[in-house]
Amino acid sequence: MDHSVGIVTAQRAQFDTPLTFRSGAVLPRYELVYETYGTLNADHSNAILICHALSGHHHVAGIYADEPKNVGWWDNMVGPGKPIDTNKFFVIGLNNLGGCHGSTGPSSIDPLTGQPYGASFPVITVEDWVNSQARLADLLGIAQFAAVIGGSLGGMQALQWSLAYPDRVRHVLAIASAPRLTAQNIAFNDVARNAILTDPDFHGGNYYQHGVVPTRGLRLARMLGHITYLSDDAMADKFGRELRAEKFNYNYEIEFEIESYLRYQGDKFASYFDANTYLLMTKALDYFDPAHDFGGDLNRAFARAKAGFLVISFTTDWRFSPQRSREIVQPLLHNRRKVSYAEITSAHGHDSFLMPHPHYFDVARAYLNNVARECGS
């Protein structure tokens, strides 16, 4: 594979200092799985943290020796010579706390009970994630990140880094993100959660003990989410009104190609993703609002930030629309922070942030080249 970081290995970090969540809940100990690419320089100044979105994880780039087809979720962006250039940066991807890819989450065994945490896993916020990520940074000897980068929910974490740890992050790249969700966006999340919560196999979140998985709910949640990640035009281009058969069957079986696609995506997702994690991730999205403690005033909330910011949005993204990204830019302008904003013309809706769009990559590369120069890479 050209320009790939090649074979990578996931690593595991154990934390024995209790972590107090924003909710007041305490997690006595936890593990985070992570991967790193590239080399940390002598003064530890070239580290980049990649924060993942709703369904992401620590496997950002490269492949596994025993799974050559398991390519990292942002492999087009991260690698040697790529916009996030592993020849220049030491890049870290992790699976967030509450996740289902190896970090401590609802499906992990609670050492106190010997049972999966299930419903007892604390509801987690973006703030809690960033605090746990800061501990991982401590462990890896990174006092300050050259950049923290994320798309969507990952972008919220990157923003939170600049607010919670203003001296520990020099640059933030917030892509297809928002400073806080709108009512419409929360509403989509709630429908997704309701699909899971009302699945008879959910068992109040303790389905592991019942040997079942709320597959129907999770599948519906993903199908709904998937619709909102694509644009109307992209769906029309890809599927139109194409039928699988030549004529209407006048029944409720799969007829239109879009139905087939969504069900396939839903089934695939439900086969590996944990429903409790999905609930947690959507709640983290809903709760995030840096202005919450500042009377709703984002200008005051962002006064703490010291980083330079690159904010990127995509024209056809309606789940995290360009207007939401402008709401990140405005308080940064108000506080006279270094900020650039690019609105990428793309047909692919919210999913654009994961696509190899040449102009999008040029923007990211131009910004990160300067970041690399700053840290002497």
């Binding site: 302008l333 900020v339 650039s340 904003y341 690019a342 923007v363 131009a366 300067n370």
Partner: protein, 204 residues
Amino acid sequence: MSRSDIEKLAAERPDFAAIAAWIPKGASVLDLGCGDGSLLRYLKETRSVRGYGVEINDLDIVSCIANGVNVIQNDLDSGLSDFEDGSFDFVILSQTLQATRHTEAIIKEMLRVGREGIVSFPNFGHWKNRLDVLTGNMPVSRELPYQWYNTPNVHLCTLHDFEDFCRRCAVSITARSVMNGEHEVGLLPNLLGSTAVYRFQRGL
């Protein structure tokens, strides 16, 4: 940015030096239609300004970012709603006025967001342009390098036109600098000047 880069820029864009002459050190500046960020870099080097550019063109956005210039991608004709009232000392529209659609609205927005405005534009009243029209062709020159069929310039004007416009819009002109190439023009500016630079504020 090296000394020779600055000199090169100043030679290519004589309006830069005229603009810089009006800007005190450390001022805050918003450059509308900032292109690749050259003016902001020039002002950063020569006047230590703090500033942002606004630009719509994708390639220019990449150039600005590569040049370390803060740039906000936006269409000027959709307004400056990202920017708060009185948030800049100067709002500059350099060689862009003639390509805006809602010219009056932009001048008003400039004076909402900035305490003062600066515009530079090619003077359509320059004798060479007049001569071109007199002999039957649309002018093409260093300042107006486009053919009639591919020009982005939709609102060309003369010095007289701009000054009339300001009077009508209650905009008060506080300084004017007219140039022919790199040289300041004193006599018959509307005839001999190829580029005009104006400094203005809200009229009383």
